[in-house]
Amino acid sequence: MTITVDGINKRFGQFQALNNVSLNIPEGKLTALLGPSGSGKTTLLRIIAGLESADSGRVAFSGKDVTKLHVRDRNIGFVFQHYALFRHMTVAQNIAFGLESLPRKQRPPKAEIQKRVSELLDMIQLPHRAQRFPAQLSGGQKQRVALARSIATRPKILLLDEPFGALDAKVRKDLRRWLRNLHDEFHFTSIFVTHDQEEALELSDQVVVMSQGNVEQVNEPTELYARPDSRFVFNFLGQVNVLSGEVKHGSLSQGNARVTLPGIQHQGSAQLYLRPHEVRLATVPAEHANLPLRIEAVSLIGSEVRVELRPEGWTSEGSDDIWEVGISHAEFNDQRPTRGDLRYAVPEVGHLFTGKDTQPETVSWAEAKSFPRVRLIN
């Protein structure tokens, strides 16, 4: 089933939660609604589910208008962040609830329900927990039970509200993979809400980035990361380093900092956005960029070494006036950067935002590729 959202507005008192939101969710895809808290993503999900009603606008499933349809008649599966399991019912009773709630005519016979429940218990790998109560389960197990409960009646649409938000990192990762498999197996049209960009990029086929009740950008995860089309999306999807200054004669400068911008005609104020992996660190400035930085901290944990630096003689806007650059462990072993060292950032690819125009222009410096990462001049 495709889901169409058309011109949805929702206001809570003075707060505009959703501002004329329109969306198309393709059939059989896993879509992430991504945004910071207060961006309206949960409200949108609840409106699609029918748990909340919009002030104006339309929701349609496969072209059929369901705006006025009650949640119980929409035949959707809904998963809550805090599981919302019925605590006085056993795991098996919880899963059977949807089937037992069907009107008498559609309700399968008892034996059929039992069979279905045990199939679902096998699927979530908890057959031995059938007679337990929710309080006796771990968080991950609870969420799996909640998922099984929501799909017991075989809905075509699965909506998940921060499904992994209350779980710890390890369980979250397992459950993510498991959900992806489940989705691929059953071909739901799924939407899940998250504020975790990593989760959204890893799990989904399509990401809807939201902010302050507006849809900022809709795209596939890889495209979204490579081509964010607004400052907001850029900032929201991972760490970003910003140089804000004046462009004159194809060169952006501020204080001590200067970067040449090949192929840019713009004159006046502009911001250059650089991702941590688009920047190299060198001990001397490059031809095309002079960005002196002093090392604040070095973090070795992970597949990359993360270096935090503070601009020297200029300022960065955004996160605490800090730049973040990722270098390989091999580079780290060669250079041995330590706190207090001076380094120069050498950008390879950057994204220039000019004026109010929100679409960035991509700038790349071919010479950076050949610029030696380590130049020992002592």
Partner: protein, 293 residues
């Protein structure tokens, strides 16, 4: 102090031991437990002990004779039935009231919330006199009810009304917090699974509420068993028809027959205690089962 030492064995292990310099906010477990026990002894246990002493002065035959006196037995029936009716009524009405107070916003909500406690604040005798006046044949309510052929004042129905009035807060105040804690997601989950409103109430909301509701009704019942002030003014107090047990105790006291009064009181006390214990145990087991501890 040996009592304090014994009690310390009951404290869960994760708490620091009593003697050690603990990090808890309120120090002095020994002292505070001692004071608590002293007050429980003075205020609760001593009168009870007096009661038992008084009763134990009687032989069992005497005791049995007093508590099985036909007029007293009739009063047991009247009291128990009226208390049952009153507590069931409160169970229903109290649940409704708690529901309205928790789930809806309306002008005057806080006022109603405060008024619920009125039966606790009002002297029961005053309540009894007011109710008797209202329900008397020429009273505000009574004149209309009597046209319908319903007599309330000076009948067992009056007893039920008085008991229901004085014990209503128990139900409201026990159910209210549980209702407030009930997550709206549970209901939303049930509805998203296709359940009708009636089914949601029956299978999701009520099961979460009933332990509290049962406690409220039980408290209301035991309170009604012992109700005196409010009841005697409206009951009419006709032997075998509308005399409550607490009145029988009062009558014995008037006759300076303290032993007999104590004997009857011990029956009421025993019934109340057994019932409260039973419900507490049952509930603890139920909660233990679903909490898995």
């Amino acid at each position: 102090m040996s009592t304090a030492n014994q009690a310390s064995a009951v404290i869960p292990q994760r708490w620091p031991r009593i003697g050690s310099r603990s990090k808890r906010v309120l120090p002095g477990f020994g002292l505070s437990l001692g004071i608590s026990l002293l007050f429980i002894s003075l205020i609760l246990m001593l009168p009870l002990t007096g009661l038992v002493m008084e009763v134990s002065a009687m032989s069992f035959d005497q005791f049995w004779f007093v508590i099985t006196d036909p007029r007293v037995v009739a009063s047991y029936k009247v009291t128990a039935l009226a208390a049952l009716a009153a507590s069931l009524f409160n169970g229903l009405f109290g649940l409704l009231l708690a529901w309205v107070l928790v789930r809806y916003e309306f002008p005057g909500k806080r006022l109603i919330d405060a008024v619920v406690d009125l039966p606790f604040a009002l002297p029961t005798a005053v309540a009894g006199i007011v109710l008797a006046t209202l329900f008397a044949e020429n009273g505000w309510y009574g004149q209309w009810l009597s046209k319908l052929g319903i007599e309330v004042a000076f009948t067992p129905v009056g007893i039920v009304v008085a008991m229901a009035f004085t014990s209503l807060p128990f139900v409201v105040r026990t159910v209210q917090p549980v209702l407030e804690e009930l997550a709206p997601e549970d209901e939303e989950a049930a509805v998203s699974l296709g359940a009708s409103d009636a089914l949601v109430f029956r299978r999701v909301i009520f099961p979460a509420l009933w332990p509290a509701l049962l406690t409220g009704v039980a408290l209301s019942f035991t309170r009604s068993l012992g109700e005196f002030g409010a009841v005697i003014f409206i009951a009419g107090n006709m032997p075998y028809v509308s005399e409550v047990t607490s009145l029988m105790i009062f009558v014995r006291l008037q006759e300076y027959d303290y032993a007999a009064a104590s004997a009857i009181a011990s029956v009421v006390l025993l019934v109340s205690l057994v019932m409260l214990f039973a419900i507490t145990l049952w509930q603890a087991r139920y909660l233990k089962r679903i909490e898995g501890r």
